[in-house]
């Protein structure tokens, strides 16, 4: 996946009502989102496609299973 350019990042931010304060802001935001995108894309695991993405561990039920 190609990196986003600062102008693409500015456009995406603008679409959700966010405005960087200056060019330094925009540059760093661009580095940050490109880093996340690249790193997430590179994550691999044999079970990644079958694992459900639960976000809450149901604590009371857990106790009887673990």
């Amino acid at each position: 996946m190609p990196d986003l350019t600062p102008e693409q990042v500015r456009t995406q931010l603008s679409a959700i009502g966010l405005i960087p304060m200056d060019q330094e802001d925009l540059d760093e935001i661009t580095h940050r989102i490109n880093a996340v995108n690249e790193a997430v894309l590179a994550l691999e695991h044999p079970d990644a496609d079958v694992q459900e993405p639960l976000s809450v561990f149901w604590l009371n039920e857990e106790g009887s299973h673990e």
């Binding site: 966010l18 996340v36 604590l59």
Partner: protein
């Protein structure tokens, strides 16, 4: 140093014995902590010191204790709480330029401290909105008491400083992705992140809903167990708290029969400095001497803990902050603003993938904790670094190295919702330039869900035969 001041250097458990037996006045002790908080105000540990309110609470505690109405072990004990948690009648700022109000109610954890008779000294400094990573601080840059040119850790920085510098007997911190364990490690104290759902988050400002945890930051493991017992348990105001009963921690001698797994990925291949690896190895020798069996363990996804943890937590935080980011971006620290704006652009597909990897990480952690009783890693990969003047995120590669790497040692366990504790295990070599005599190093001890007492057992046994927890930073009055 007068005798009252010397008392502030003692562990909370010792102060508890003196207070509840009537040998020590809560008022005298509270005044001693307030005096120290003022004397070392340059460390920027506190945002609010409630001198009048604390002395009033202490006088009430003194009266109750004199009349034999002892509420429990922390009756009359002067404690302080991270300014992420509401305390009735006191200002809440969350370390920001944006939030500023007087709380009408206590956060549940704070209220439970009060009900148990603790004296609330005030509110402690923190990284802006408990995010960590900010460079500027509205209430002053927190300074590490072991070397004031260095960081105290993020985000419960004030809690770490206040306990290490004896500006309170114990503190509450909040840990989303390491914010109790990190500052505890760099400040040389004990800090427990409880099982997610053990301690109510009611009245706490959220950083990331499904990882936020509140816990004790203290001088010793026994102190941490005592504070944990006071704050943990089901709360109807936080439906995700567990209703499991709490079992009081009963110290046992030795670790005979305990199986401790060292997560190899946390120390191999340069994942921690040589000093820290050496410190961990020495700590493991102590554990073996106490009867524990030390085994190698593996978490194949370990190196991705920082990415998964930060990717998820920041996406939630960005949603929490969306309104303020739109309306008051100028009021954020520049590093926080850039981080939250970037996190606002994380694609939904990436968030879902990270959520799946979170579960895979948890599966690995739970499998390892099925083979051993406890896991250990370094709590921090290095001693506290110098205070930053910039984010250093000048390239995509720098973000990957610094931002994802920063929380790599703690991320796997907050992702998994399991309890984890930072335990002081010694000091790095002294700085040749003389700014410090060595920086604290720390072991992270990880347990099964709701098995905090086993973590306490290991930590307490370790502290019975070592004295790292008895070291105090040499603060000057100037």
């Amino acid at each position: 140093m007068n005798s009252a001041d010397e008392l502030t250097l003692r562990p909370a458990i010792e102060l508890s014995a003196l207070l509840t037996s009537g040998e020590l006045s809560p008022v005298e002790l509270t005044q001693a902590f307030i005096n120290r908080a003022k004397r070392y105000a340059r460390l920027n540990a506190y945002i609010t010191v409630d001198e009048e309110g604390a002395l009033r609470q202490a006088a009430k505690a003194e009266d109750e204790i004199k009349r034999g109405m002892i509420r429990g072990p922390i009756h009359g004990l002067p404690v302080a709480v991270k300014d992420q948690f509401d305390a009735k009648g006191l200002r809440t700022t969350v370390g920001s330029n944006i939030i500023d109000y007087i709380a009408h109610e206590d956060a549940t954890a704070v209220g439970r401290l009060r009900e148990a008779g603790a004296v609330i000294l005030g509110k402690l400094n923190l990284s802006e909105f408990a995010l960590g990573g900010n460079v500027t601080h509205p209430f002053g840059v927190p300074h590490n008491p072991w070397d004031e040119t260095r960081q105290a850790g993020q985000s419960s920085s004030g809690s770490g400083i206040a306990v290490a510098a004896s500006l309170c007997a114990a503190a509450l911190g909040g840990d989303t992705a390491g914010s109790i364990r990190g500052p505890s490690a760099w400040c040389g104290i004990t800090g427990l992140r409880p099982t997610w759902g053990r301690v109510s988050r009611n009245g706490a400002w959220p950083m990331a809903w499904f990882m936020d945890a509140i816990g004790p930051m203290t001088k010793t493991v026994a102190d941490a167990a005592m504070i944990f017992q006071a704050i943990a348990g089901h709360d109807p105001k936080d439906p995700n708290t567990s209703s499991r009963p709490l079992t009081p921690f009963e110290p046992e001698r030795g670790l005979e029969g305990m199986r401790v797994g060292v997560v190899r990925e946390s120390i191999d291949n340069g994942m921690a400095t040589g000093d820290v690896v050496h410190g961990v190895e020495e700590a493991l020798e102590v554990l073996r001497g106490l009867g524990a069996t030390v085994l190698d363990e593996t978490l194949p996804l370990f190196e991705h803990g920082g990415l998964i943890s930060n990717g998820l937590a920041d996406s939630e935080a960005a949603n929490i902050h969306r309104k303020f980011l739109r309306e008051r971006p100028q009021d954020y620290d520049f590093a926080s603003r850039r981080r939250l704006m970037a996190a606002s652009l994380v694609p939904a597909a990436a968030y879902v993938k990270l959520s799946r990897f979170r579960m895979l990480m948890r599966r690995d952690v739970m499998a390892a904790l099925g083979r051993v009783d406890l896991l250990v890693t370094p709590a921090q990969a290095e001693g506290a670094p110098k205070l930053p003047t910039s984010t250093g995120m000048t390239s995509k590669e720098a973000v990957m190295r610094q931002f994802f790497g920063l929380r790599a040692h703690r991320g796997p366990f907050n992702l998994s919702g399991v309890p984890a504790m930072a335990l002081p295990i010694g000091f790095t070599p002294a700085d040749p330039e003389g700014s410090h005599d060595g920086l604290p190093m720390s072991l992270q001890v990880i347990g099964r869900p709701f098995d905090e007492n086993r973590i306490f057992q290991l930590g307490h046994a370790y502290q019975e035969v070592t004295n790292w927890h008895e070291h105090r930073p040499a603060l000057t009055d100037s």
